[in-house]
Amino acid sequence: MENVIEMRHITKVFPGIIANDDVTIELRKGEIHALLGENGAGKSTLMSVLFGLYQPEKGEILKNGHVVQINNPNDANNLGIGMVHQHFKLVHNFTVLENIVLGAEDTKHGFLYMKNARKKVEEISQRYNLKVDCDALISDITVGMQQRVEIIKMLYRDNEVLIFDEPTAVLTPQEIEELMQIMRDLAKEGKSILFITHKLNEIKEVADRCTVLRKGKYIGTIDVATTTKEEMSEMMVGRKINLTTEKTESHPTDDILVVKNLSVSKKGHKNPVNNISFSVRKGEIVCIAGIDGNGQTELVQAITGLMPILNGTILLNGKDITHASIRQRNVSGISHIPEDRHKHGLILDYPLSYNLVLQRYFEPQFSQHGFLKFEEIEKYSEKLIEQYDIRSGQGSKTIARSMSGGNQQKAIIAREIDKNPDCLIAVQPTRGLDVGAIEYIHKQIIRERDEGKAVLLVSLELDEVMNLSDRILVIYEGEIVGEFNPKEITVQELGLYMAGSKRGDTNEKAV
């Protein structure tokens, strides 16, 4: 088979780090080629080089056998290379159609001419089974549909090499399933796909070949069908990885967090959280499972104080914290690993050390007479960096923005666990992370449980739900529709409850 794209001996250096070190990759026509590696392995950098966002120090890129120079994304686009970024680049107050044509608009006498564009988009949408509503505003549609818009954007520009940068990180299990089908269809139509990921299941499912990178270096290219997941993970991490989480039986004791009849209202919508009651006991991991957007975010924000509640009560260690301030809740023993680490979890322009004391800077350990104790903060941050293996360019001084996603998440987890909370609330703690980091974070969460903490875990990933939890609560449209022991339920059955087609009896143990 002919190679559509060849990247030969690419080396890209950033100050203090070699992001790509002599990497070679070949993409055949009509194949799905996965690019596997841990966070910081250089996958995104390599694709950014191909897309013209970075210029490599060494190496060359060949398109259909000819050397090409890609100086910017426009060059890439002209060569038929398109990219769906991990964080979508869409204009939120534009419609779907406007976003698709943006940058490639038809005009007639200086005015926008959308008729042809609409026809072409509808054709693409039909042909590849990419359902979108052309006139919906981006801000009104789901993340899954936004991704379809990004894909159509590439197809609208007649791109034949499609780069997907961790496309499944933001999707629900159902949406992932759909995306996989879309990718297969695209490949069948002769498009060549480069697929950045660190999820082995997905590679197994769709990819033909897989190139593995580790710490910027090329490790090898393998045929997916003949390689096991264990072999791939070993290539990626450089050591054997235990893909299933080991944990002992839980021995829950007293109630730590009790939520009674909690409701949250939202203007113009039905209550996103509707009369929810449950409790989390010392020494157990309770998992809220559900499809994204069924009230998990609101539930957690209500418990942590980020969102006002309509009615209900929240007790922590028997103390009513329903109307306590966020600071009071933090101090009285709630730790919160937030869903969106960039929005809530970190102040990206602050150095790592400042971020590690984000809820504790006012304590006598870190400040005195209104002034920060820099040495103490730095000492503490060095301790956490060491203890939790947070990797960054300049240690405590590293600006959080420049750290990789996995290490940002590690920093948040270090901070929240080191607060020694009574109740740890973790929302999708492993979202977008690689196998090694996931293994690590799962271990930490189980250790917290074993030390007698109450853990409330919110997760969209069923694997995580089944592996970690001691008790599963299924949330659907803002209500708890079932409570299960993970050992007594299958993933398929859980899926039915999550989709709302089954309802269980919730009130025996929950209150």
Binding site: G16, S325, N330, I347, L372
Partner: protein, 362 residues
């Protein structure tokens, strides 16, 4: 911390200087077009600025710099906390009026503290003017730019209304001069530069104070956290609304003190009743931009712009009409305001520091 700060500081300095040089070059072109025969002399005078008049000139520079350093600090401080305080003219003028009123009327105060009391009340008046847009922003989500612009006019017209009823000199259509006990002492620097006002000393002290608040204090940590990421600071348990009001009050107080320092300076200058917003207020924005919102940067920028203004007025000797001089100074300031953009170019072009944005999963 130190090493990072050093390279960051040198980058800031380099970008401001580059912006200034670009401004000067464009300024020179305008000078050549306006008056080719005297262009070189004119330009040299402009650059010489305050230095062409010996210590007298330096004193003038310091005196002119004082109010714009304060309004610059006001804008820069608010900016560091994520707010755009465009209300400095209003805060400046109410501060000035309160200082003058106390300076004229409260002669019962002993000389040693009369001026200090006047400055403190000016700060309070400025803080009051700043806190209105702060409260509107924090609790009603009204854009602080609009609210502060409105407060500018309310401040100006209120002062114009009250002055004729209180400390008015009807012959000159301005306020009465303040009592001698209300004049800020010169703290001994008059031995070096005879015509200097004590205000510059207070301005420098405040530059240091603001630097410490921003970089060393818990309050600064909280304020900057709110400025960088309001959601995350809320998550951290910081009362973001309260911090917005607090930040605007401090910013307002700084501009208010700026007003006090001008009219308590002992130059005999009085507040005229005119329907224009105080230019010192808006100049603060340029100073803050040129100084990249850092307190010491603002100090340097304030001195530089004062220096140019003096140079500009001396250019009139060579037949440059005041309007042309104003245009030239405006061009230089205008270009200087691009310092932030230049910083971006320098940082990316010459790798002064690590690229700020590294993609996830690299």
């Amino acid at each position: 911390m130190k090493k990072l700060f050093k390279s960051e500081a040198s980058l800031n300095f380099a970008s401001s200087v580059t912006a200034i040089i670009a401004g000067l070059i464009i300024g020179l072109i305008v000078i050549i077009i306006a008056n080719p025969s005297n262009a070189l002399n004119g330009f040299l005078t402009l650059i010489q600025g305050g230095f062409s008049n010996g210590t007298r000139g330096i004193g003038q520079v310091l005196n002119n710099a004082t109010p714009i350093i304060l309004t610059g600090l006001s804008v820069g401080f608010a900016f560091k906390t994520g707010l755009f305080n465009i209300g400095t003219p209003g805060q400046f003028v109410v501060g000035a009026f309160v200082a003058i009123y106390i300076g004229v009327e409260w002669t019962f105060l002993p000389g040693a503290i009369h001026w200090l009391v006047a400055i403190i009340f000016a700060a309070l008046a400025g803080a009051l003017w700043g806190c209105v847009p702060g409260i509107m922003k924090a609790y009603l989500n009204v854009n602080e730019v609009i609210a502060s612009i409105i407060m500018n006019y309310i401040g100006m017209y209120t002062v114009n209304y009250i002055v004729p009823l209180t400390v008015f000199n009807i012959n000159k259509n301005e306020t009465l001069p303040v009592a001698s006990s209300a004049v800020i002492p010169q703290f001994g620097i008059e031995h070096l530069i005879p015509n200097v006002n004590g205000g510059i000393v207070i301005a420098i002290i405040l530059v240091i104070v603001i630097h410490i608040i921003l970089n060393k204090s818990v309050l600064g940590y909280e304020l900057k956290a709110c400025g960088f990421n309001r959601d995350a600071s809320k998550y951290a348990g910081i009362n973001a609304k309260q911090k917005i009001v607090c930040s605007m009050m401090i910013a307002g107080a700084l501009a208010g003190i700026g007003g006090a320092l001008v009219y308590l300076g002992g130059t005999g200058k009085c507040l005229a009743v005119v329907d224009t917003l105080a230019p010192e207020g808006f100049n603060g924005i340029a100073v803050a931009l040129l100084g990249l919102s850092s307190p010491f940067g603002i100090l340097a920028a304030g001195l530089f712009i004062a220096h140019l203004t003096i140079g500009g007025s001396l250019m009139q000797i060579y037949g440059f009409i005041p309007q042309i001089v104003d245009i030239i100074i405006a061009i230089i300031i205008y270009f200087s305001a691009f310092a932030l953009m230049v910083k971006g170019i320098l940082a990316n072009g010459f790798h002064f520091k690590k690229k700020p944005k590294v993609k996830e999963g690299q």
